[in-house]
């Protein structure tokens, strides 16, 4: 097991946001975490990337303890987190946002070739490399956020609602890009999504979170036809 | 929070007044004078507690408002020959007026902007005195409250007279402040400090509440200024330096800025530390430079430590510890 999470419990002040969450993600697999708002999906990712501290449990990536140390050190162990809401810095240019992701990497030649790959993957970003990020559309920002994460040469990618606020056509494009990236780099991915069917369609396996606990797990195929998925969103 | 009934509170204040009276008869001149200083600081600190501790606005220029009060008292005494209580009332009104103006500006600002604007005020306002001859320039104006009434006897000293006036004014001011802070106005300010949006939803007009806090706080500061002018006998730009603003803020933080309960702690500390440190320094025979600078280092360090480790002040710290232990009252 490469990502190993066991009995993870996290509090937001007095609220228990996650309770005894356990799951594993195998190398090269994409796991979708679905569930309605407030189910604890974002909290899960924020805890794994070191932005939030856990009250209990364990979480490790290839033996590296994810519950210890700061977010910036996890990046150096191959964990990249694209946080909710198009995680880019609007005050910086497109290229600066990308460069930021690779600042900690010593070998500047390797960083440059990674940037080349990101530009090949998202040609739109190269066209706008000198522009302020504020001028980008929602979809372009999401591409930039994923591109920034790729700049750190990650092995584990944590994606938080990449489809949020995007029109259906763009959602499709983003999901396709995620599939491409995953295959190309052999990444392990934890994909948190509201768009359950879209996410399960590209995932290997899925987890349904409900009020901070795991309601159901299974292969993506199983979950698509599972009434629990409907229940988590529609209440029946 | 325990709420005493008004009658009990009035009784407590009368008893306090009597104790102060007894005290003034049993200590030497220096202590009496220091007592008057403590009273001035208590009022000045209380004005910051109202403003910063309750409404959450910071003023680094409170000293300037004391100055407004001091000058107003001196002017009304010199030119209109008003009786002393009336000069105090003028001081309060003048400073409150200045505070209202400042409050209107302050309602638009917050955090560093407000701090910087009030800081600039503290530096700028005293120099206005040099602009108008009526304010007496660098020398300033005399403010002489006169001798104690002859009926108090031969032994009754001038300092003791200062102390009595200052103490009485302080008791009244604190009683009044307590009334206001315990009313819905105090509640409103504390609510704004907590969350402006939530307070607005509960029907609070934020700007109006902030301006009111600035106005009342300035009025109290004006009284402190008049009392300060009384104890030194003059008002001049140098009597209200930037350092005064900082001292009051320090006193407020040491007192615990969110409650009036500890206001004596800060005032006594401000008066006592220079003396205590001075005594120690003399005992170990350090130079005069050490004697005059060490108190500042001690006070500054104390301020930093308080802000970092007991930001709500010693009294609140004790109270919340008691609350955590389980007793709900």
């Amino acid at each position: 097991m490469t990502l190993h999470v066991e009995n993870l419990t996290v509090h937001h002040g007095a609220i228990q946001a996650l309770t005894n969450v356990s799951f594993d993600v195998k190398e090269g697999e994409l796991t979708a975490v679905i569930g309605s708002n407030g189910a604890g999906k974002s909290t899960l990712l924020r805890t794994l990337s070191g932005l939030k501290s856990a009250s209990n449990g364990t979480a490790s990536w290839k033996g590296h303890n994810l519950l210890h140390g700061k977010a910036e050190s996890h990046v150096r162990h191959g964990v990249a987190h694209v946080s909710e809401g198009k995680s880019v810095i609007p005050e910086l240019t497109v290229e600066e946002n990308l460069d930021l992701g690779a600042l900690w990497r010593r070998n500047k030649n390797e960083s440059a070739s990674t940037k080349r790959e990101v530009f090949d993957l998202f040609p739109r970003l190269e066209e706008r490399r000198k522009q302020n990020t504020e001028t980008l559309s929602g979809g372009e920002r999401q591409m930039l956020a994923i591109g920034r994460a790729l700049m750190s040469k990650p092995e584990l990618l944590l994606l938080d609602e990449p489809s949020l606020g995007l029109a259906p056509l763009l959602v499709k494009q983003i999901f396709e890009a995620i599939v491409n990236v995953t295959k190309q780099y052999g990444l392990s991915v934890v994909l948190v999504e509201q768009n359950a069917m879209g996410a399960l369609a590209i995932a290997n396996s899925g987890i349904v979170l409900n009020l901070g606990t795991i309601a159901t797990t299974g292969s993506a195929q199983e979950l698509i036809s599972n009434p629990a998925v409907r229940a988590a969103y529609l209440g029946y | 929070m325990h709420k005493l009934s008004n009658k009990v509170r009035i009784l407590i204040f009368i008893v306090l007044g009597f104790l102060i009276y007894l005290l003034s008869n049993n200590v030497d001149e220096l202590r009496v004078y220091q007592g008057a200083q403590v009273a001035v600081f208590v009022v000045g600190i209380a004005s910051i507690i109202l403003l910063t501790g309750y409404s959450g606005q910071v003023s680094l220029g409170q000293g300037a408002l004391l100055g407004v009060g001091g000058y107003a008292a001196a002017l009304s005494h010199l030119h209109w020959h008003l009786p002393i209580p009336a000069t105090f009332a003028i001081a309060i009104l003048a400073a409150a007026g200045a505070g209202a103006l400042l409050g209107i500006a302050a309602a638009r600002l917050s955090g560093p902007y407000l701090a910087g604007a009030t800081l600039a005020l503290a530096v700028g306002l005293p120099s206005i005195a040099n602009q108008f001859t009526v304010l007496g320039g660098e020398q300033g104006l005399f403010f002489d409250v006169g001798f104690p009434p002859a009926s108090f006897g031969e032994d009754f000293t001038q300092y003791k007279w200062f102390f009595w006036i200052a103490s009485l004014a302080t008791l009244i001011a604190i009683f009044w402040l307590q009334n206001v802070m315990r009313s819905r106005y105090g509640r409103t300010w504390k609510a704004i400090r907590g969350s402006e949006v939530a307070a607005e939803l509960a029907g609070v007009n934020i700007a109006r509440a902030k301006i009111l806090a600035f106005t009342l706080s300035a009025g109290v500061a004006g009284l402190a200024g008049a009392l300060l002018a009384m104890t030194i006998g003059t008002v001049s730009p140098s009597a209200f330096p930037l350092a005064l603003s900082f001292s009051l803020l320090t006193g407020a933080v040491l007192s615990g800025v969110t409650t009036l309960g500890g206001v004596m702690i800060g005032a006594v500390t401000l008066v006592a530390i220079p003396e205590i440190v001075g005594t120690i320094v003399n005992r170990i025979g350090a130079t005069e430079a050490v004697a005059s600078n060490l108190p500042h280092i001690v006070v500054g360090t104390l301020l930093i430590l308080t802000v970092v480790f007991v930001p709500n002040g010693p009294v609140e710290q004790m109270r919340s510890r008691r609350l955590k232990k389980g007793s709900s009252l």
Partner: protein
């Protein structure tokens, strides 16, 4: 006409020094969202360290370099020992918003008392490295001297240098990222704490230059009780606010504007407005354009 030129040149020179202080304040604000009121004390300390250096080395420029290094070290030390603890402890609670302001004021008091303890008493003198006698044009002598020219040049060079560091280097990119979005910077692997310390160090070095140039711009005399340093802090703060608190260029424009306006007010209206003029300018700016000249809307209620 001649007086006009003189007034302008005086304004530009003192404005350049305000601009340095403003830069120093902006660097700290951008890295930690704190206005450091102790910066007046830090600048004065650095100036005294420069003064002390001059007793051993007979070069103003060496002293300036030493003062810059000392200023950077002091500033970094303050960030590591005080600010980190403070921001961790008092991020919530009744006075969370004002706690950093109060703490830096306490620090100012400690610094001021400490330097008075060390260098107090007599006035100190730093002989300006260049002549302060004005250039002559025909029969007229300008107030503008080689020293003033050097001051403007130094500020210009520093501004270019700082802009290059902030805009073109990776430490600058980290600085900007950490300022605008610490969380995303962390996620990108930026060691935000170290970057903040670097921001404070840069600020300390800039403040040291401001302090030494302030002294060199005058007759070279200064003391631990110098009112000029309190004024430097306030002018720097006002300049930073005029510039919008976020932008380096804004700080420089704010500083120059403040210097020139003040200079004209003093020359043509009354020289006793020295203390009150900056305050009036600040209030005008806050009322007319609360976000500063280059500031963006909505940043004011930070």
């Amino acid at each position: 006409m001649f007086q006009l030129l003189n007034t302008l040149l005086i304004g530009i020179t003192s404005g350049a020094i305000y601009a340095l202080m403003a830069l120093s304040i902006v660097l700290v604000w951008r890295s930690t969202r704190v206005i450091n009121f102790a910066q007046a004390g830090q600048a004065l300390t650095s100036t005294f360290i420069g003064f002390q250096t001059l007793k051993y080395v007979d070069s103003f420029w060496v002293a300036l370099a030493v003062a810059m290094i000392a200023g950077a070290a002091i500033s970094a030390l303050i960030e590591i020992t005080l600010m980190r603890v403070l921001l961790k402890h008092s991020s919530s609670g009744a006075i969370a918003g004002v706690a950093p302001i109060i703490a830096t004021l306490g620090l100012l008091e400690v610094i001021q008392a400490t330097i008075t303890l060390i260098w107090g008493g007599a006035d100190s003198l730093i002989t300006p490295p260049l002549s302060n006698t004005g250039f002559t044009i025909g029969t007229n002598t300008l107030v503008f001297s080689p020293m003033k020219l050097a001051i403007i040049a130094i500020v210009g060079i520093l501004l270019v240098l700082l802009s290059l560091i902030v805009q073109k280097t990776s430490i600058g990119l980290s600085l900007r990222a950490a300022a605008f979005s610490p969380e995303l910077a962390r996620l990108a692997g930026v060691r935000v704490d170290a970057v903040r310390t670097a921001g404070w160090a840069l600020s300390g070095a800039t403040g040291a230059v401001a302090g030494l140039l302030l002294v060199a711009n005058g007759n070279g005399a200064f003391s631990t009780a110098s009112m000029e340093f309190s004024l430097l802090l306030i002018s720097g703060f006002i300049a930073a606010v005029i510039g919008g608190l976020e932008s380096l260029l804004g700080a420089v424009i704010g500083g120059l504007a403040l210097g020139i306006i003040t200079s004209f007010v003093l020359m043509y209206i009354s020289d006793s407005l020295f203390f009150i003029a900056p305050f009036v300018i600040l209030l005008l700016v806050l009322f007319i354009r609360p976000q500063g000249i280059l500031g963006k809307k909505g940043g004011r209620r930070a």
